[in-house]
Symmetry: C2
Subunit: 459 residues, 2 copies
């Protein structure tokens, strides 16, 4: 295997990082309509770079929402084809006042780069692009394997656009396997392959009581209170031990194989350390009889994310709001089916609606849970590539998060996904002070270079 690409990547580290910073400065928050132009700007930025490094058929594909970016290079006759996937959109940055430095002014501190999207997923997207550049530049404008790349701008809002594209244009995405870098390493310096994801159903419950906001002095005792109604509903979705009370909810929940559970036990994980350093709460919560890794990887959960409505300023306002809402999501595990779960949830919630309240149930996004088999050659090649870079055996883990597209790739393209992720557990994904560990940015690029060379040589 040629070391030239690795040398090129090492020599250009600072430039690669500076380019990433430029991308991080674009506030491509897909969920907020006021950032629509920024989202398009991020798509254009990525497309221009793909073109510059040598990718062909670079295309910004319109969808009903934010555009997809597609490119390919398909001249490695007889070699396998990889479909690289990443996303250029980011989560909203709020609460803004908790960021030490502004979310869209990337700042280096202690070998980390702090910015919204640093790890999720712009840093990891840039790893793909820079690995491809290194291979092109040192390979006489050629790659060791065939490459398609599809990058979406709606991952944080449910990924409707790419899901539709995958369903309807599977011919344009024909490949032997997908490479998805949107996950994390189990521990610093420990090369990790993610082989399972939880699914998701994200909903909003909107409770409407009176026709207008009312004074709690005048109407308290007669008018329905939508927050009280939502509190009553939420308190009955789970018991005090974290067991979800929706009838039928657990019917399709499978147990991980004994071998997988055994491997998890050998991972470097200390629940007390995790409680203190990662979560920081007095106690951990969740279902009794399961370890933290089982609870977050292999058991479903239900969470409340926010309750819009009423008065949320400083001090007091004596209002009974006409309406209030609760954002509630469920994480699912194989073999739960999101559509079925949403139906069970909706039916159960309807039985809990208190007197005087009208309830609307909205569904924002769904994702299938998935488990990837570890015995295919691409998974094996990625494991070896990472071991070479990190000088440690690669571990297999699952993630409690959801990447809906992985299930879609399996379902519609019939290909497995290799989830090589380079985030760290304390990277503050979706939270203030999101960061990416800069050495992992560089190691990620080298891992992908080695992985593609290995697949090209073996393929």
């Amino acid at each position: 295997m040629s070391a030239a690409a690795l040398d090129f990547a090492r020599e250009n580290r600072q430039r690669f990082l500076n380019e990433l910073k430029d991308l991080l400065r674009i506030p491509s928050v897909s969920t907020l309509p006021e950032h629509q132009a920024d989202v398009r700007r991020a798509a254009a930025f990525v497309a221009a770079e793909l073109k510059r490094i040598g990718m062909e058929h670079v295309d910004i594909i319109a969808t009903a929402g934010h555009p997809l970016v597609y490119a390919d290079w398909l001249h490695a006759a007889g070699k396998p084809t990889v479909l690289c996937y990443a996303h250029y959109d980011v989560q909203p940055p709020d609460p803004l006042d908790e960021w030490k430095t502004p979310p869209f002014e990337p700042t280096e501190r202690d070998q980390n780069i702090y910015a919204r999207g640093a790890v999720d997923d712009k840093g990891q997207l840039w790893i793909h692009v820079k690995a491809l550049e290194s291979l092109f530049k040192t390979g006489g404008g050629r790659l060791p394997l065939n490459v398609r790349i599809i990058i979406e701008g709606e991952e944080e809002v449910g990924g409707e656009g790419i899901a539709k594209f995958v369903r309807e244009h599977s011919d344009r995405l024909k490949a032997d396997f997908a490479l998805v870098s949107d996950t994390e390493m189990f521990a610093p310096d420990l090369p990790t392959l993610c082989v399972g994801l939880r699914g998701m159903v994200y909903t909003e419950l909107e409770a409407v009581g009176a026709m207008t906001d009312l004074h709690s002095g005048m109407y308290g005792g007669a008018a329905p209170n939508p927050f009280e109604a939502l509190a009553r509903i939420i308190s009955r979705l789970k018991d005090e031990n974290g067991k979800i009370l929706i009838p039928g909810f657990y019917d399709r929940v499978g147990k991980p194989a004994a071998e997988e559970l055994k491997a998890w036990k050998s991972l470097p994980f200390n629940e007390e350390e995790y409680r203190k350093k990662e979560v920081g709460s007095k106690e951990l919560t969740g279902e009794a009889g399961y370890t933290v890794l089982e609870r977050t990887w292999a058991r479903p959960t239900l969470e409340v994310h926010g309750m819009p409505g009423g008065f949320i300023g400083a001090g007091g306002k004596t209002v009974i709001p006409a309406k209030a809402a609760a954002k509630v999501s469920m994480r699912l595990v194989p073999d739960q089916r999101p559509d079925e779960i949403f139906k069970l949830y909706s039916e159960f919630v309807r039985t809990l609606v208190p007197k005087g309240i009208e309830l609307k149930i909205k569904q924002f996004s769904i994702a299938d849970p998935i488990v990837i088999k570890t015995d295919n050659k691409y998974v094996q090649a990625s494991t070896v590539a990472m071991k070479e870079v990190f000088n440690k055996e690669t571990v297999y883990i699952r993630s409690g998060g959801s990447i809906p597209i992985v299930a879609d790739f399996e379902k519609f393209l019939k290909i497995p996904s290799v989830m090589m992720g380079f985030g760290l557990p304390d990277d503050n994904l979706h939270a203030p002070n999101e960061k990416f560990h800069i050495p992992n940015f560089y190691r990620g690029i080298e891992s992908i270079i080695r992985f593609f060379q290995r697949v090209g040589n073996e393929g």
Copy 2:
């Protein structure tokens, strides 16, 4: 009794209304720090007008919060002294998008003036000032009785400043009775005297779980969810029938006299009309076995006003927030004691805190519940004055709202309060599209002129 003052008031109606509009344009929102200068501007506006009409010793009195405005005219030897009370601060205007016209651009529609503070309480404050002006201008610069006026700027944030002033400077407020115009009429055209108020305890529960916001995929199933905790707590504060479950909460709740309950039954009130036209909910809620008037006037309640924290934007964000809060208030009735109730509430809430959550309990404001005796001569005189203006018998009602200062006047000044209010039940107090019925603004001025003349003649 001289009709000159009434004539003056009628001739100057348009000017009086235009002046009120100027006052309404000042966004004196006492609860929001960014409006501090506006609050002071409103105080200065009121003080300048008191001076202009002929009041003496006009003083803007600094407090730890927003200033008080004081003035007097004490040259009616041998006559009673009234202490006029009103407030110049207003509630926050949100939700802004539900206002048909901007909250601080007073707009006339259908004989109403729409603006934040129109009825609560700037319109009613201006009734006092314009009645005094009419009496001064037509009485050779003299009034028929002695007048002190004290106007606060913190009514909507708990009234700490005036409470302290009343406790510590009762000599400066020496009077025979107080006139408080911050209540409403029972029905359009029905002159109404309010003789009872609910008390209040306003609190905020802050639940803290993790040390930072966490991704619900990564941590869901292990990290405590503060919204879930608050939902669990709130759902256990009241049962499904509106009964408050705090032990000891009802111990001091008294029953209104049989005569008062009988009088309420004769008021023009239809629960189905009220449900449809005022509340607009599918059903009314509250304790079984009590009428709406009993539930809102003579029974305590507990309400949730807002639940700050987490993600409240459009769409979905998969966060387990580190903290969340609930604004919870209780309305109290005689003889419940706010301090005791806060203690019982806090003790009970502490027993409900779920695993992994730290709970902080804050208290923002309290008010004593009160009932005024109807057999004193000032109450009688006001009843007659309103009957003369409205050509109908004045009815006695209670209000479900709280005016803490009325209890303080009784406790520290040993004087009764005459609560003549000119708002209407559909005036959208504390809600979007707050209004004041313009004919009631004029009738209010005439009622107070007649009331003061009657007290002066009889005194």
